[in-house]
């Protein structure tokens, strides 16, 4: 679907860049992750030809699960045409020669940074999340040795204390993205820096959710139809972001919006962050008489 002709696959490199042994090692770790939803599995992360922090974890997972028949979609901030999404999509088009798409329903594997598509996901689809800091307790307890013990003991009191302190200080829970969730009633998990707006989409999703942190060498998973609950209190229930405005392009009133400053006077416009969702809606509106 890209305008540019892309060579079938990069000479001198294995299918999807990583060697088969490495991919097998990652798939084994993924099986463990699926078996223990929300648990961070250490894996022998490799150095990738993209910098750490730019999606190396997600790329390794994508490389490990990608087959020749897969159709890959890559988004960053919800958009298919942001530079890093373009770069990663190109990488797999070059090294694996797989088909790519911008349409959410057509994709079998969707690698993402910071968003879950607005279009509901279907069974059989796999979401691959790029994760910077996999540890939800990290900013409360900097030591990995400690946080692993806390997970083992399900010692999550500090997390609720943090949220409570937010309410005491600000009157609201002051976490707006990377909002912690409990997976399958057991592990507290960082859903990656998606806005909390996307958290409800994780709950009982028919798609398989895989999370990869390259620098930290951790991966974790949420299997299809797994309960995912955002942490909250009875008197301060979890809430998602809302806008007074609608999308300036497609008019959507219930999608996540990006704010654009359009002139020197600071005038604002809001548009859908999910470019595919927005384009599909705009197209439907045009085709309607």
């Amino acid at each position: 679907m890209n305008a540019h002709a892309i060579p079938a696959s990069e000479a001198g490199y294995n299918f999807a860049y990583l060697d088969e042994q490495t991919k097998r090692m990652i798939r084994r770790a993924l099986l463990k992750a699926v078996a223990i939803p929300g648990y961070q599995v250490p894996f022998g992360g490799r150095e990738m030809p993209l910098p750490y922090g730019w999606g190396t974890g997600g790329m390794q997972l994508t490389a490990a699960i990608l087959g020749a028949d897969d159709v890959l979609k890559v988004i960053d901030q919800g958009a298919d045409d942001t530079t890093n999404a373009v770069s990663i999509r190109r990488f797999f088009a070059r090294t694996a020669g797989v088909a790519t798409t911008e349409r959410t329903p057509e994709a079998t594997v969707i690698q993402t940074r910071h968003r879950i598509p607005e279009t509901p996901l279907a069974a059989g689809q796999i979401m691959v999340y790029q994760v910077p800091i996999p540890e939800p307790l990290r900013f409360i307890e900097p030591s990995e040795t400690e946080t692993r013990t806390m997970h083992a003991l399900a010692d999550y009191g500090v997390m609720h204390v943090k949220l409570y302190e937010d309410i005491a200080t600000f009157g609201h829970i002051a976490t707006s993205y990377a909002y912690p969730v409990t997976v399958d009633g057991r592990y507290v998990m960082d859903p990656s820096p998606i806005p909390k707006f996307d958290n409800p989409k994780l709950d009982r999703s028919p798609a398989l959710m895989l999370f990869g942190a390259g620098r930290e060498k951790r991966l974790y998973a949420v299997p299809p139809y797994t309960r995912v609950v955002s942490l909250d209190f009875e008197d301060h229930p979890f809430q998602i972001q809302q806008w007074e405005q609608c999308c300036a392009i497609c008019g959507s009133g219930d999608s996540y919006l990006d704010e654009l400053i359009v002139d020197d006077a600071g005038s604002k416009q809001f548009v859908c962050s999910d470019t595919d969702y927005c384009a599909q809606r705009a197209q439907q509106q045009e085709s309607r008489p």
Partner: protein, 369 residues
């Protein structure tokens, strides 16, 4: 209105073409050859090989050229290449005692068997810009005595060890894990720690080592010995059953003699910090040795007081490829997250604004009362 934040393929291609142009500089000036870099910037090559964890002078020089002299970028290039290489064997432990030395000094004894060998060094040079180099003047090397030979140079800490003054390092024959293949799990073994430090950023280790000298985890170091030279690399393939020599590599080794430990005064022994780097890399090896010793605090029952003594802190932050990547990722678009922060901060300010208005309506007198 989308253009400012969305780049697309053409913009990426153009950016890379511009980079190539910047790297090349003025085309009226002869292009820098990889072999020139290898021969004339050997210390840069050494650093890239060490922290890139790949001993290949030509590829390191290529990486430096491609990175336009940005050594951290060059290290990253070499690492990304290294990760695609198969591991066909593990070498036998290097015998640095049998190194062909080009430099060897000890700060602990005025003279040692084999002698002090200054070799090529910046030490004792006056740091005056040499304008002769600006004029591209050739410098003749020192006079060479063909008949000169180097005596046996046993390791200085070995001599102390024979006297029972050094805490012995015991090889338990445990398998050595490979950091580049297995995730680092903490707390980790000294072998893993040394691997991480060997790949660690020179500047970071230098600063941490320096911090121990200034009191953040002091360990009273002496430069017991610094050896620079070439050592042979041997492997023993299973199908052969006997070792074969692959070739030789240049190494810098630093052994620090540090404050003593012991159950009682009579059993007091010095301790050791160890540093090893590819090529001529004295600063790196010394920084590494200081930090290695600092990280042995737990082993010797010392109180952890400084950052250099905290294993997790040091090991999780010493890798410059990881650090540079994660810092540079801040350049990636974050407007989805930022939007959620904006939404939140506006929401938080709302009740506050109402409160301020209410305050403004209250007469000043009442407020004072």
């Amino acid at each position: 209105m989308y253009v400012a934040v969305k780049g697309g393929e053409q913009a990426i291609d153009n950016a890379h073409a511009l980079l190539a142009k910047k790297r090349r500089g003025d085309t009226g000036i002869a292009e820098l050859g990889v072999e020139q870099i290898r021969q004339q910037l050997p210390l840069a090559v050494a650093r890239v090989m060490s922290e890139g964890s790949l001993y290949d002078e030509e590829l390191a020089a290529l990486a430096i050229k491609q990175a336009a002299g940005d050594l951290v970028e060059a290290i990253f290039l070499l690492r990304a290449y290294r990760t695609t290489l198969p591991r066909f064997a593990e070498s036998l432990p290097l015998d640095t005692g049998a190194m062909q030395l080009s430099r060897r000094i000890s700060a602990t004894f005025k003279d040692v068997p084999g002698g002090q060998l200054l070799g090529p060094t910046f030490d004792y040079t006056h740091r005056l810009l040499d304008f002769a180099l600006l004029a591209e003047g050739e410098r003749p090397g020192p006079p060479v005595d063909e008949s000169a030979t180097l005596g046996n140079c046993p390791r200085v800490l070995g001599l102390l060890g024979e006297e029972g003054l050094m805490t012995p390092e015991i090889d338990r024959g445990e398998p050595v894990p490979d950091l580049t293949r297995e995730p680092l799990e903490l707390p980790c073994s000294r072998a893993e720690r040394l691997q991480a430090l060997a790949r660690g950023d020179e500047g970071f280790l230098l600063a941490l080592g320096y911090s121990t000298q200034r009191g953040y985890g002091r360990n009273h170091p002496f430069a017991g010995e610094i050896r620079i030279g070439t050592a042979e690399v041997w492997i023993e393939p299973q199908e052969l059953g006997f070792p074969v020599c692959l070739g030789e590599i240049e190494l810098t080794e630093c052994e620090m003699v540090n404050q003593f430990v012991g159950e009682s005064a009579a059993q007091a022994q010095f301790t050791r910090g160890y540093g090893l780097a590819f090529g001529y890399a004295e600063r790196k090896a010394m920084g590494m040795a200081l930090v290695d010793r600092a990280l042995r605090a737990g082993e010797y029952g010392e109180e952890v007081q400084g950052p250099a003594q905290q294993e997790e802190f040091v090991l999780m932050h010493c890798d410059n490829v990881e650090a540079a990547g994660f810092v540079s990722h801040l350049k990636l678009p974050h407007y989805v997250d930022f939007q959620s922060e904006l939404e939140l901060i506006r929401k938080l300010r709302q009740p506050q604004a109402e409160q301020t208005e209410a305050d403004a309506e209250t007469p000043a007198k009442e407020k004072r009362a």
